[in-house]
Point group: C2
Chain length 353, copies 2
């Protein structure tokens, strides 16, 4: 397969082993793959423990249970206001660990590259992953690269798996939700998904919205360290706040009352949502979560959350009760009407994460 030549090469020839696009051979196990791993991945992720040339990373773990999670990222477009597929692939996975009450420690990264991807795009994404990992205080320790034929991918897809440690004595989950618990949301909702929609060229919207994509473990840690008895945590990704609440109500077999007016939504988010007929409560976020705490600790929990940047906009949106239909969520409108909040069947927005 020939190396595509661009005009810059002619003026100042590049060495033969330098390619400006991904070739199928970059996934083949030969010198091209070795060079890609060394020059793009290992160079960027270099740090004690990164195993460019080994089959598996060897890690020493602190005491406690292990949390383990995985997510693939297929977002389109690859770059958007507030982030890109690389930062998202770090935030999404470290946030899943945080939702288990874990301190995120290690990430793996599996890249599926489409033949023809510009090497500069890959380098930009990988640099963004490194910056996001550093900011989230996790180490990317092992990786894998595959190349698929042109037309069998969409630039690049990334899978990250994450390992964290759950401190002894910490247990959070839907089974711990109790009647009377306060339901808190860590900030305004709907921004990530609507930003992606606004960014997609074919829709031609212009707005100043930016994704909320961010690592939230620091907020969770502050909450756990403060002595607040955290019953449950859930990040508000695909399906948004609505899906998270419906799933938790169902798992806990309790009823949630949520006051629509209290759900924080930025004016720009709301305006764009209204224009498109999409309720931000159903839209994916990447730096937001819901937390259930005992009523008596609700104010303290809010105070702790608000002191951390990523959850500065935390508010209480509702209460858990056992007096109404278990497994469902009521949305109370400002006019005193009670709607049952339902999971949509699919969603309005494919490939927002």
């Amino acid at each position: 397969m020939a190396d595509p030549i661009n005009p810059a090469d002619m003026a100042c020839p590049m060495p033969l082993n330098k390619h400006d696009r991904v070739l199928l051979a970059h996934g083949g196990g030969g010198t091209l793959m070795r060079d890609l791993i060394r020059n793009v991945f290992a160079k960027t992720f270099a740090r004690d423990g990164y195993t460019a040339e080994h089959d598996a990373a060897r890690l020493t773990m602190p005491k406690g249970d292990l949390a383990f999670t995985t997510d693939s990222y297929v977002i389109s477009p690859l770059f958007f206001p507030g982030g890109d597929i690389g930062s998202l692939a770090v935030h999404g996975t470290v946030n899943d660990l945080a939702m288990a009450g874990a301190k995120p420690l290690y990430l793996s990264a599996g890249f599926i590259l489409e033949e023809g991807l510009e090497m500069a795009v890959l380098e930009r994404v990988v640099a963004s992953m490194r910056a996001a990992a550093d900011a989230a205080d996790v180490v990317l320790v092992t990786g894998d690269t595959k190349v698929v034929n042109r037309g069998k991918g969409d630039g690049l897809y990334i899978n990250t798996a994450g390992i964290g440690v759950v401190p002894d004595g910490i247990r959070v989950g839907p089974e711990r939700i109790e009647s009377g618990d306060a339901i808190l949301v860590s900030g305004d909702v709907g921004r990530h998904g609507l930003t992606i929609l606004a960014t997609r060229n074919e829709l031609g919207f212009q707005s100043d919205l930016a994704s909320d994509s961010a690592p939230v473990a620091v907020a969770v840690k502050a909450l756990l360290d403060s002595g607040v008895e955290v019953h449950c945590l859930r990040d508000l990704t695909r399906g948004g706040l609505a899906a998270a609440l419906c799933e938790l109500a169902e798992s806990s077999r309790l009823h949630f009352d949520v006051e629509q007016e209290r759900v924080p939504v930025l004016d720009t988010t709301r305006a764009l949502g209204e224009l498109l007929g999409i309720d931000p409560i159903h839209v994916a976020n990447e730096g937001r979560f819901v937390v259930m705490v005992p009523e008596r600790q609700a104010d303290k929990a809010l105070e702790v959350l608000r002191a951390v940047d990523v959850s500065a906009g935390a508010v209480r949106v509702g209460t858990v009760n056992d007096q109404r239909q278990p497994g469902t969520v009521s949305l109370l409108t400002p006019y005193g009407v009670r709607h049952q909040l339902a999971l949509l069947s699919g969603e309005q927005l494919p490939r927002i994460c």
Copy 2:
């Protein structure tokens, strides 16, 4: 998005929530995704610890260091003699853990599904993963599903990440290879890659070759338990035996002498390789590995390996020495000629794993 209807549905209507092809909405975070997760993934992987409805799995680990690895699988075709993308996605990752001297324990699975994929194909692959995980004695504990638009994938891609535990006192790696070590190979080479090539329709070959895809941890465990001082292990995936040896020679800064005649290759593999001008020594395997042990323990190691099914064909192929150019591999032909074995730049066969 409409559910495609096939003639079978008309004769005997399926419930509305039953779909025979993957829709974009199956990745959307709503009821369709919930049903897919419940009916396909959770049902198949159900076992203590599988967290269909949580953000991360919580795991208790035995004592020892942790091994952590990831691989994406983009093989085409999805089904081939001796395996499929599902069994491969288990074998490849548990083998990477075994190569670190670890006992494989837990897997994650990230699915990237192309819109329109037949649900029956997905179910078959997922069932194969479960069977492979059971056979390899690992538990698939967490997963993720994304759906990409038609034409932006190739049926399905799978990423698995794996966690294993390295028993105290075990350390294997290229840094432990010593001059004088015997170089053993666990069985015949080149079968996986040439099977895939023979299976690809466009090439129209017919043969009785089958992939060697298999979990090898049991062979590694037998070796470690036997008291053989294992210096290094490496599986022979992309780039085959040649790439594994070149990389290890380079990492260890030693020279490897390999006798071409001793490298085990089945007659069918060799014939197909000759027909295509592909040397099986450069072709990927999925159930083969190379192991370096001290000269004095070479016979014992072979005896132990041969007693285990997956490595019954183990043989010695060469010796490590420090008298020749460090970082390179010599292939000694039956005619007494010494060739330097080189990494190919890409490979002859894209998407064989």
